[in-house]
């Protein structure tokens, strides 16, 4: 019996205009988004390789270690291969960081800032298509599941047979879910196939497991709207009312809640602006430099060359003192900058966390965060990359300084820098299990919503007036 209901529902949907249309729309959108993703990734990769090579040749062409230490080394952030599916915040955050003495490394030159056109016109990735388009389609597939049949009078006819209500609703749900899966999965699998065929896109086993979880996430997300559709359809007696309620719920979930959450977190937990932080840094730097000047004056006053002292020796002593005090000052400034910066970052991260948790009420936000975690294009991976650069800075400056010191005293021609023993920056991306663990809350939220809606639909249908 159940099989017959599923079959009937499936055939019903597949032969409808709605299905044909959905299939076409999904195919075009999904393939287009993956194609655009691949294109963007390849151009990002090219840009990344070019900037690494440029940095390398810049370092190699430096005449001395002195110049090398002054120039510093530039670390570029490699593009994530899964940004082909989920762009995340990649375009909004910086891609290059300078590492040199007395300079707090920071990732700058985001795609948005180098060419504002990128931020004004949004991007189209698979996650966006799923979040906006497929959720809307899920609603369109289910809004009249029950109340539509009631309106056309077929519901009471079906139930006049010896057919339990629970079986009817399960059969209908399963049947239309399968018919929704076809327009989603066929182009998606095709898109993934295309992705795997591109020669310069390397997908290892870990990437494939991430993609697997992403697909599961997309399915869960669509199921949330699907089950919500059935639930609302069993609550209302007219399909026009049902679609209206569903669309308003959709607008709220997809466009309003994420916006409201960011706004609310800004009000709940305000963060000082970058300008305030910069002003604080500048003020501290000025204060320290002022102190240094005063101390130097005092030093000269108290240590003025005694009569009969060799002026050359005094000069050396003075240079030594100047170097030491300058080093001490820049250490202090570094420390203060790092402290200010880390406090600022911590506050900002806390604000982000509040916004994230608030907006998770909406499955659309849960989808966004989980997919960014899984594809490594979220804020978390960005911070990890920045931290790896911060850890690299002392290693590199130590190397550069030791080289510089050793060659500084050479009277003859300065040697050209030898980069063979230069410490390299390394970054290990977050492991799959860690990313998956971070996505667990989002998966749980979606599962809970699905269970709630299905249970609600079930109970409401048992009490439904089918006449």
């Amino acid at each position: 019996m159940l099989k017959d209901i599923i079959r009937k529902e499936l055939l019903d949907t597949i032969s409808s205009l709605k299905f044909v249309f959905t299939f076409l729309l999904c195919t075009v959108m999904i393939l287009l988004s993956i194609y655009i993703g691949i294109n963007n990734y390849r151009s990002d990769l090219k840009e990344y390789q070019a900037s690494v090579a440029l940095n390398r040749s810049n370092l190699e062409s430096q005449p001395s270690y002195q110049a090398l230490a002054g120039l510093g080394v530039k670390i570029s952030k490699p593009p994530q291969v899964l940004s082909t599916l989920v762009t995340g915040i990649q375009n909004a955050v910086g891609r290059v960081a300078s590492v040199k003495e007395s300079y707090d490394p920071e990732l700058v030159d985001s795609k948005y800032s180098t060419s504002p056109i990128f931020s004004v016109f949004g991007d189209l990735d698979l996650e966006f298509i799923v979040r906006i388009v497929l959720s809307l389609l899920a609603i369109l597939f289910t809004y009249d599941a029950i109340c539509g049949e009631k309106e056309s009078g077929t519901l009471k006819m079906s139930l006049a047979n010896s057919l339990p209500r629970d079986r009817l609703i399960i059969g209908k749900a399963v049947g239309s879910f399968i018919s929704l899966l076809i327009p989603l999965m066929v182009p998606l699998l095709l898109g993934l196939l295309i992705l795997s065929l591109y020669p310069d896109i390397n997908l290892g086993r870990e990437e494939w497991s991430r993609i697997g979880l992403l697909v599961l996430l997309f399915l869960l997300y669509i199921s949330v709207f699907f089950s919500l559709g059935i639930f609302v359809s069993t609550l209302s007696t007219r399909s026009s009312v049902s679609i209206l309620i569903l669309l308003i719920a959709w607008v709220t979930f997809v466009t309003l809640v994420p916006k409201a959450a960011v706004i609310a977190s800004g009000q709940i937990y305000p963060v000082p602006s970058v300008h305030e932080i910069t002003a604080q840094k500048d003020a501290f730097q000025q204060e320290i430099q002022g102190n240094v000047q005063k101390e130097v004056r005092d030093w000269v006053h108290t240590n003025s060359p005694k009569p009969g002292e060799d002026p050359k020796a005094w000069q050396e002593k003075f240079t030594k003192y100047l170097e030491d005090s300058q080093q001490e000052a820049s250490r202090k400034i570094d420390e203060k900058n790092a402290a200010l910066e880390s406090e600022f970052q911590a506050r900002r991260q806390r604000q982000d966390l509040i916004a994230m948790n608030l907006s998770r009420i909406s499955p659309a936000s849960a989808l966004m965060y989980a997919s960014m975690s899984l594809s490594g294009t979220g804020i978390n991976e960005h911070i990890r990359f920045l931290n790896s650069i911060k850890n690299y800075k002392p290693v590199w400056t130590k190397w550069a300084n030791s080289k510089r010191m050793r060659t500084l005293l050479l009277r003859k021609e300065q040697p050209k820098p030898d980069l063979s023993d230069m410490p390299r920056h390394t970054f290990t991306p977050e492991s799959f299990s860690q990313s998956a663990r971070r996505a667990i809350p989002d998966f749980t939220i979606m599962l809970v919503l699905i269970i709630l809606f299905i249970a609600g639909a079930y109970v409401a249908f048992l009490k439904y007036d089918v006449r």
Partner: protein, 458 residues
Amino acid sequence: MLFHIILRELRSNILSLRMLLALVLALTVFGLGTLVFVANYKIDRKEIEHSSQQEIERMKAAAAESVSSLANWGFNQDFGPRSNSFISNSREDNLPVRFMYDSFKVDRFFVWPGRNPLSDSCQPLDWMFIVSIIISFSVLLLAYDTVSGEKEARTLALSLSNPVSRGLVLFGKYVSVILSTILVLVPGMALSLLIILSSGRIAITRGTLAETGLFLAAAILFVACITAFGILTSVLTHRANVSLVAALSLWLLFVVVVPNTALYWAQKLFPIERMENVMQRINMERENLEKGMPEGWRKNSASLVENYAKLENEFLASEMKVRRDWYNQMFSQYERTRLITALSPIAIFEYLCEAAVGGGYLRFRKNWLDMNSFQLQFLEFVKAADAKDPESPHAFSPNSWGISGKPVDFSDVLIFQEKAPSIQERFSHAGLYLLILFFYTTAAFALSFVLFVRYDVR
């Protein structure tokens, strides 16, 4: 007759559930959006005033030091939030709002630094967003079943059995949807203005009211266009749920597909040079110019200042030529991409709002041009100050010591003032978009009319 049809339709719309829901939703978002605007505006304003004050202080310091410092130091000009951005922020969060200039050049612009990358993706809840996304959605919901729904309910045949022309019936339905939407829109806008008035932080001037009027006019045109598309989906099919699918996919096309693929087309069709290449070209030109100088010129102390100034001026001219070309490429890429997005009435509405409030790209372009002509005045001013000093070598060039070392009185120094775009500038900015929108509206409505005349109403 038309009046009766409109009245009847309007009455049935107003009493419907969707109208009530749309009204509640609109009032909520208008209220929420404005509350947030009021809270944020003060903070943003303070920040911008602080940074502008710092720049003034730097300028004072430069003037007190010397003409040379004033000419060379390089200052930032920030463009703060507009007090009318509750109407439309026009993506100013993503556009450059800081220019860097000195007396020789305006060479760089910046997007506001240090924004939260998470909130970057989210536009503020301004009137423009509410109308272009939420109201357009509700308009389609009101319009999709005006014809096919009545056919299903069998009232269409009844109406048309009276002596009324089909065109009149269709037009009556069309006007009534627009009027119902205005009934949702106006209370929302009024609520928003009330919140701003009662906050006492932002003055509502006559100019703001005029801009509100312009916005309302743009919104009505936009609603008329979307309604025409909604009615078109309704006369295309005989069943309301198919009309619904068509209407929603049209909405998706306008809101999602067209704006979000524009960037892809922009990169494919109008590619521009990368920043790194431009910088490399500038450096190469510099090297060439330096090679072109006479042998051993640095050692010839008699004409060193003049030669140095000559070289610096050549550097400046060559760099500015490359930069200007690049910026013009960038602007033209942006403008052409906007023309592609004009396929979507929602994008057009955004550009109309930009013109109504004098913000967004219109403001950026105006400020950029104004800044460039201001720089010329500033240069003249500095040159005049230099000319007054008999001890100066008068070898005027960037980074040189050929400019007077005497201080300048700060009260004479020119300071840039932002001017809002004039009415003519706004209209000429909006003109093309208005035409396109008008074309879409008439085309969609004419097509609906043709289809409705042949519609099987039974």
